[in-house]
Amino acid sequence: MTDDREHYEAVVVGCGPGGAAAAAVLADNGVETLVLERGTEAGSKNVSGGLIYAEESAPYTIDDLYPGFREQASERPITEYHIHNVAGNKVKSYDITDLHDHDTEWSDAVLRRKMDSWLERRVHERTRETGGGVVTGVHVDGLIQEDGEVKGVTCEELDPIEADLVVAADGVNSELAREANLMDWEEPEEWFQGVKAVVDLPEGAVEDRFGIGADEGAAHLFSGDLFEGVRGGGFVYTNEDTLSVGTVFHLDSLVAEEAEPHELLDALLTHPMLAEYFDGEYDELEYSAKLVPDSKKVAHTSPHRGRLVLVGDAAGQMQAQGPIIKGMNHAVTAGALAAEAFVESRARKSRKAEPTAGELYERKLHEEGVMGKLRPKRYEVAAALGERDAVTNLTDRVLESPVGRFGIKAADSLGIIESAYSSPFMSMLMPDTKTPYVTLPTVIGEALGDRVTGENTIEPPALDDRIGDLTYDVGDPHIELLDESYAASGAAVSACPVSAQDFGGGCYRSETVKTNGHEERVVSLDTQPCVECGTCAVVADTDWNHPAGNKGVEYKQG
């Protein structure tokens, strides 16, 4: 019944920044564009650490495409950027605002519910003009494929819809990218996992406690020994009257250390350094979590198949290279370039068989420099050397030795460390080992740090209360545990941000089952507390899908 299917020129799946950018360029070129969003409102499913950049070198920025964005959709502009090396309660801080400012037109802290829902309203206005619009509460769960070709999308709530262009802007756990075999969830070392708390502060406290003006904002990064040796770091970003406090770790490291993400977040929240931000009062508005692709490893170099193009997290376009953490800006550029490519290929079609929209999009990603940022050449060279265990151990031992510490002190007095941190080139070639994340900052903190004297008395909520506040209607279980043995899926018990060892109220729980006299350790799954981060899709053996439209977690902050 092919003839009966709904048809749109373009279907955009997901109304985050990537989808919104694609929709804007499509609509402005008169392309009939339908945007499908699975949340009750755009942003209700979205989490980010919280900074969006407008790069000087980028062909598109979100405020170009959506004027008024900074005034109406974002929080504070980030005007200062610091990194703190922590060793016990000794901390050595560097001002890396120069790194932050490099190639930056502006950068704002954002909360995604507010930001994406604002975008959604604009997207709807723009796409409605073309005969399309935004439909929320629709879970796009697959592709129409005929004779191996992508023809459109299938949805849980609507009949299949055909399109000449399908933009998969459906996030890090893109079901479309996986159905098209462009992305997978196989290797933990290709992903980061972030958890975040949005913390309410009294009015005026942000300015007072961070020493900033009304139109200023601060970003602080933390690394060192406060995370039990897990590779990663923490951040604090200032919003209007709230703080985004989060931790981001390499997923393979979380799994190897059997660390509990919420406890690592608490380690940051309760560190004496943060005492001055809270002043003894702690009011957590929301706990959230997200998987983050490591673009160095997974940014797809050819993110398209037939009529399908991937943009943003769905294509692994998340640049997390040391203190450079940029994702949404790349999603915006990619979305707009994909739309541009479609419009161009359609215009050329009458002449002869030209490159497809996907091929043009791929070419543009390279020509506009996006791919170069996501997969820096320098990293690939450095990784070949730097990620070998022997080299890591050797560097770590040298750094920890008296000689190494002497070197650090000497380097600092010469200003080498600060300038190294401030160098985008250094950041882009940092290998994914303990050296830059743990060993080096710890050594710096110990050798050079000042003792923090404040006492942090706050008590973050326990995991069950955090989950309790996220209570929602999950509908039918959307994740199926394929192998319940502890060997196959046990890693999820710790790594899942809403599960923990010896905690019965989470998604994944460790259980000992006695059958016919022998005991077996297994895991069980309850998807009700699920925050849809996708961690278990990577670390456990599951059949992972998003819940139906309007079901599942609903973030109010994001």
């Binding site: 439909v135 709530e157 609507l158 009949d159 069950d464 209360d465 989950i467 309790g468 506040d469 209570t471 209607d473 999950v474 319940e484 019965g504 109220g505 729980r509 259980e511 000992t512 089952v513 006695k514 059958t515 297994v522 895991v523 069980s524 799954l525 309850d526 009700q528």
Partner: protein, 551 residues
Amino acid sequence: MAVFDPNDFEISELGPKVKDVEDAGDLEEVLEREKEGKNRDAVKTLVQSRIDKLHDEDEDAIDYTELDPSEHTVAEMANLVRDVDDADALRGMLEREEAGEDRSTAKDRIQSRLDQLESSDDDGEEEEYVPPEEKYPDLDHPTADKQYVHGVDDGEYRDMWVYCETQQGELVDVSLEMLGKARQLMDDYNDQYDEEELVVAVLMGDDVEGHAEDCIAYGADLVVVHEDERMARFQHKAYSEVFCDVARGDGHPYGREDRSERDWHEYEEPRYVLFPATNNGRDLSAQVQAELDSGLASDCSGLYIEDTVISNPAKTGGEGKRQFERVLHMKRPDFSGFEYSTILCLDKPHRDFHPQGGSVIPGSFEIPEADAEREGEVVHSDLDAPDEWFRVDVQDYDTLEEGIDLTGYEVVIALGRGIGDDPTKGIELGLELRDAFEDAELGLSRGVITSSYSFDGHVEQYIGEDRQIGESGQVVEPDVYIAAGISGAIQHKVGMDESDVIIAINTEPDADIRDFSDYYVQGDLFEVLPRLTEAVESGELRLEEIAAGDD
């Protein structure tokens, strides 16, 4: 000026020039000049074909009264006669054909044109309506075999009929919802159109008459009851036949001959009819509406009656716009409720689409307040259903497990993941405590239900979502709630914190449940539950005492 010298022109220019010439004689002249001049074959063909065409046109103008049929093939005759509007000329032609070649096919053509002219003469300007099956008997008519479809044209329709479904001897809620809506619609209708039309409830089955009073209390003016012990369960054939039989008026062209006169059905068919969009209601509605040769708006969630103006020529007979009065507007969700369409069931010329009918999604309308004072009439169907309608025999049936309803017990004992060390033993202990009370039942936390605990066969029956207490399970408010091995997450709390007395048993002194318990026993449920059971059984601990302790 019409004659020109073709030698002055290229062939491409000559096409339009030649086409403008209307006189064959002029063209003959042009042709001559070409022959004398460049003598181009293409030009000669062009001019000659125009000459031939003009001659043909002349011939068309010939006098049909003198046309000799023998000069024409049958096919040519068929084309020729189509243009003839003079019946006498055709008769002449027919005579000459008979006198001449006397070809029967040619005579058929002439005769059929003659019939056409004469029949259209008979009824003046308007053409008589002929059903498509009769008009084009040679064509295949998939709808011609309408052995079950008996339509009415220009019939009289009244009242809103509501099929009131019963299940296991009870009126289902949607029947009451429809009666309430029908009452409201028909009250407005009678006001607006100054009519006195009724809400008619239809009850069919075995021992259903008892519901007639309820039907009246919820809005019916008239209840039609058909009792038949063979109809204890829904059966497609019998139910649809009976419904159609009662729905057809006494004088209905397809009605039963042996019907005794009914003073409550002096029209042909119901004006409107509503069915529940339940499994049985959908089944019945489709057959009944097809049998009555009308349409059906299935799964509706909104209804109103209004006049409407329609321009669709299929409905107006091509007269431009036409106002349809008293149209039942039936709103139904499309795209799973993302869009709504409004379905209208409208008569068209020579074929009525009545009753206007739909099926109604349960829960779409409120159940109205019952009015025991309302008056109404109950009438009975006199139909004696033939045995052949009951070819389907229900041999056996089963009722789906609905699960256990935990509300209404004096005591609920709920078990959580504290039973994890020995889940089967935990359930056994819970059951023993349950049995020690007079009126108690066993509940579970979500954590137990979604666990991978393996339970021994004899307690497995107690492990199911139907026993879950909390946000995604049941909400209970017993006199005494005993929560054993439950930490008290917010999702659990919302299912039980209205209980009068809450007793928590937990090994963790800082478990959340302690915050909203009246009694807290710190200890292992495997030790505490047996002692509690013993205390209850020995009378040492009495329910009234526990409850009194709350004061």
